[in-house]
Symmetry: C2
Subunit: 451 residues, 2 copies
């Protein structure tokens, strides 16, 4: 009898794992249970659907269940919720949400890819029909329909992470007046202050109102159950809708109740093979921790590309292979209006906490040559170790060529290069793409001089 | 008495060298002789001036002689041609081209940055007033004036290197019908065939006529001395002007006559300190050879960014410092209409010649996610060593994000990474900038599977 692999969850990590497992072992029986109605969608594209950049929701669906079945012989069960894992029996209990019947399935290997969910908000009125969170495809559909049907004029966002910033652009494209209410005075998540300044500047330029250091106390609803007013500790805000994007939390209840160990971050702990504390049970994606190569620490880094890669490793190993997940550098990017931000490695504050004698520098340069009319300002911040000159992290911001540039620094970090070595690398130069010496090399040269 | 540094030539390498020397030794007397009327200009920007992307010639002038004098105390002598170097006396003979007087100057250190000149063409009629080459600022001015005053309708280019390709776009922007006549059937210089195919496709799409494997025999002039017809071994071509861009040759006569050794490439041989065979005489930029880190061979690589970096090293060392030029990887990029090309490292054919057991792969992917409307095709070709899996080179082509992407591979090459290691690097992902797994990582993964 064929061995059976069960995968729980069908977005980035789950589908990547199932596909990889199929490649490794063509004879394996692979069953993927997804409690929602959709699999394999591009959640990171959701803000672009809202802004009209992407013209219809279906474009976010990368591969259909039929494709998985026909091309890869992967059995996809939608609206099937795994309600219990019984490791000692190597079985799972699965509830069919259409029929409410529960069935038992045995497995030889199990991959938990339950992902993350939006952090819940415990504020009166958060149950309103115009209160939205944006993560699952179903949530995207619901917000999309609301925007099209109700044509709101004002939107309050709660939280100022990069979903909120991407949505600020989407609201702007729709002509919706957006106010971002935020408990701290920071925007964009893990940004260096000099990079954050650029993001704040473009929000101001585009007329996005920021209301920092403010806590929402209540959402006041009208008779139809719609929020019309947001009550905060700094006054009230009238609105036609609320977008709550105060982060995500890993979906770990199922794993935890099965005795799978969680890490310090609260996400599932895994080894370098993406195996959990229970042999034969793997985890990948937003539900588990990610090893950071630069800090050497497990982190919680719920990003689509990491989920995809971890899924690949979990799938390979669950199917009998033996590869390791090499860890992340902490590379990420986002776009907020024309402002591009790219980041990799440690923040200066991380590096300090880890005991490094921290050097930082910030340079301002251009995206193209002096003479090219489209040239835009680029800000580069480097973080390095004073003792060894080793690069520890970098962030870039600019209205052109900032996001893609960060990958060259990511490769440098992977190789534990010093700023001196980085300054020596021969980058490609052509006037429409870069100044004669690339901003990253300018920053590295500057670091060599000042470190 | 202060020591004197003499720099011969004032474009990329010469000005970079003088500036660096000033930083290193504030007391040094620095004199820069330039035989032309202009210094410190962006030669690589010239095609963009012709196409009207850059609105006036003066924008190409990066720094004025006055700036060098006032801000850095560097004495710039325009229209001063160094006609002889006498190493045994440590003097140079300099001819003032305004007065035709020759004067002798002593030096403590000398930097030769005489650059390159367009390869001369020995064909009857190449002395015509509408025969142009594009390298020096004076040549750019002359072509620019012709285009504006005579408003030509047809242009024949001879040679299909990247100047010709950049100028094809410029001609197109001016509504000039362009025919590229070329002795070989290759375009774009050192391109892999799969990348070249993309460039040829865009030329065809834009209506640029390519006439490969054709040799020009004569330029037929009318009574006013203007070329009206180009005679080739494959028929005649009527035209209103000719652009000859058949490459450049290093300007080495002065060095050679002083006894400075040339390398196998015909350019000035230098050591890793950018010093020539004569102690105290340095060379930098398009007149000298460039050490290639990947092949371990001296090459002739006349590119602006390399000139700038070599000038920096020569300037530092001539002023008493002691640094080395780390060598180039052979990174370069160009734009031809919307097509971006980026390259680094060895061609497959180079690698074969050097005795590697060569692996290559070509993948086609996208510049953004599946769902993003602006996503463009990207072609990645990798060259690696089958035995060690070490990356040896890469080329990318695409209508978005191809040029900037190459730098991440350049950093990988600098670190002698294997394709397996490159596949493991954590690149930044956001839908407007890349698919969930970057095309470079897709190519590296594909190489790992197929090598």
């Amino acid at each position: 009898m064929a061995k059976r692999l069960i995968v729980i969850g069908g977005v980035a990590a789950g589908t990547s794992a199932a596909s990889r497992a199929r490649r490794v072992d063509p004879s394996l029986e692979i069953v993927l249970f997804e409690k929602g109605e959709y699999i394999s969608y591009g959640a990171c594209d959701e803000p672009y659907l809202m802004g009209g950049v992407i013209d219809k929701p279906e474009r976010l669906l990368v591969r259909s269940p039929e494709e998985f079945r026909k091309k890869q012989n992967i059995d996809i069960c939608l609206r099937h919720e795994v309600v219990r894992i019984i490791p000692e029996e190597k079985t799972v209990l699965v509830k069919n949400l259409n029929t409410a019947q529960t069935e038992r399935f045995s497995y030889d290997a199990l991959i938990i890819a339950t992902g993350a969910k939006p952090r819940p908000l415990d504020v009166p009125g958060a149950d309103a029909r115009n209160f939205f969170q944006l993560k699952f495809y179903e949530q995207a559909l619901s917000l999309y329909r609301f925007l099209n049907e109700r044509n709101p004029k004002r939107a309050v966002s709660y939280g100022a992470g990069f979903i909120a910033l991407e949505m600020a652009e989407a609201f702007h494209l729709r002509g919706i007046e957006n106010t971002i209410i935020n408990r701290s005075n920071r925007v964009g998540g893990r940004l260096e202050p000099e990079i954050e300044k650029e993001v704040k500047a473009i929000l101001e330029e585009k007329g996005v109102r920021c209301q920092p250091e403010t806590t929402i106390k209540e959402f006041v609803k009208d008779s139809s159950g719609m929020i019309t007013r947001v009550v905060t500790d700094r006054g009230d805000f009238e609105t036609d809708m609320v977008l709550c994007s105060i982060g995500v939390v890993p979906e770990v209840e199922l794993a935890k109740s099965a005795g799978v160990k969680l890490g310090r971050t609260g996400a599932i702990a895994v080894n370098e093979r993406m195996e959990t504390s229970i042999p034969g049970i793997y985890a990948a994606g937003d539900c588990c921790e990610t090893y950071n190569r630069v800090s050497g620490e497990p982190t919680y880094t719920p990003l689509g590309d990491i989920a995809n890669k971890q899924g690949w490793v979990a799938g390979e190993n669950a199917a009998g292979g033996n590869i390791i997940y090499p860890g992340a550098l902490g590379s990420w990017s986002f776009k907020c209006f024309e402002m591009e931000v790219g980041a990799t490695g440690l923040l200066a504050s991380d590096a300090k906490r880890l005991g490094y004698d921290v050097f930082t520098n910030v340079i301002e340069h251009r995206s193209r040559t002096h003479a090219q009319p489209g040239s835009k300002k680029i800000i580069v911040k480097l973080v390095a170790d004073k003792k060894t000159h080793k690069l520890l992290g970098a962030q870039l911001a600019g209205r052109e060529g900032a996001a893609l540039r960060i990958n060259a620094v990511a490769v440098a970090l992977y190789n534990q290069m010093t700023v001196d070595e980085l300054a020596n690398v021969d980058f490609a130069y052509a006037p429409p793409f870069s100044p004669v010496i690339d901003p990253i090399l300018i920053a590295a040269r500057d670091a060599v001089k000042s470190i």
